[in-house]
Amino acid sequence: MTGAALDMGRYAASVWPAYAASAAGFAWMIIDTLVRARRARRAVETLESDRRARDPKT
């Protein structure tokens, strides 16, 4: 992609913030989703290992 393709002229103040807002939205969705899923999975792993320690039959 050439530099000319990235030159938005007098509309740069509208185009780039729109792309930045979209990128920020995706970044939030990806980070929040992964952090929540990882935190929940680790909590389950801890609880299951505690349960196994209390009652090895389970």
Partner: protein, 240 residues
């Protein structure tokens, strides 16, 4: 396929590989579409602002798709008392809210240079999309405000189903009322009026956004399943 995925164990096995696979597909399609979109010539009327369309329109499409998914999952949960459907409904609402916010913000950034206004309260398309955003936020707030998770789910599901009426309002608002917003130019009878040089990148980014939504929804539903499993284990530990 849907019947298979309704089984939580099968869903977890499927989503474990499907979520990252969809994420890779999304990254390729969005990157390809945006590269073509940035290389396309400026529009003769809109100039360079036409490039906002490549992030605005897909976000608006996916916001409506997300609400349709919220409505479908809420219906299955309400009628069949299906726990995985409820987890999926809870997981999709924040994604829908964010895609709607992205559509509103990028639309506003386009409206300022083209219409001379960030926002027009009299425009039915703008206001109906704002209502969509408030429905997502209302759903999240309602679930958070009731301590009993079952009661919270039932109340939020009813709100989600009532809100479905807003989807045809958004879709046909540009036909039913005189608005500043452009009329239908892509999904219309007689074919698209958009030039191919803009249509191809738009469809690629639209497919990419849809794939990203699918990946995030699967990953978020997985997280919700883990959270519920954790709550169940905590309760069992407390009772034992």
């Amino acid at each position: 396929m849907i019947a298979t995925l309704a089984n939580p164990l099968k869903f977890m096995a499927f989503s474990r590989w499907a979520a990252p696979a969809l994420g890779v597909v999304a990254a390729i399609l969005i990157g390809w579409g945006l590269a073509l979109g940035l290389a396309a010539p400026p529009d003769y009327q809109q100039g360079e602002t036409v490039r906002i369309m490549f992030v605005h329109v897909p976000a608006a499409w996916v916001s409506m798709l997300a609400y349709a998914c919220l409505g479908a999952a809420s219906f299955v949960s309400l009628v069949f008392r299906h726990a995985l459907a409820d987890a999926a409904a809870r997981a999709v609402a924040p994604l829908g809210a964010m895609f709607t916010a992205m559509a509103l913000i990028t639309g506003s950034l386009w409206g300022r240079p083209m219409w001379g206004a960030w926002w027009v309260w009299g425009d039915a398309r703008l206001v109906s999309v704002l209502v969509l955003f408030l429905l997502f936020v209302g759903y999240i707030a309602l679930r958070a405000s009731i301590e009993d998770e079952v009661k919270a789910a039932r109340a939020a599901e009813i709100l989600a189903l009532i809100g479905l009426i807003n989807l045809p309002v958004i879709k046909f608002s540009v036909n039913w009322w005189n608005t500043l917003h452009q009329g239908e130019s892509i999904m219309r009878a007689g074919g698209s009026t958009l030039a191919p040089v803009y249509l191809l990148p738009l469809l690629l980014v639209g497919a990419g956004y849809s794939a990203a939504f699918g990946a995030l929804w699967l990953a978020r539903t997985r997280g919700e399943v883990w959270r519920r499993r954790g709550a169940s284990l905590t309760l069992q530990a407390a009772l034992s």
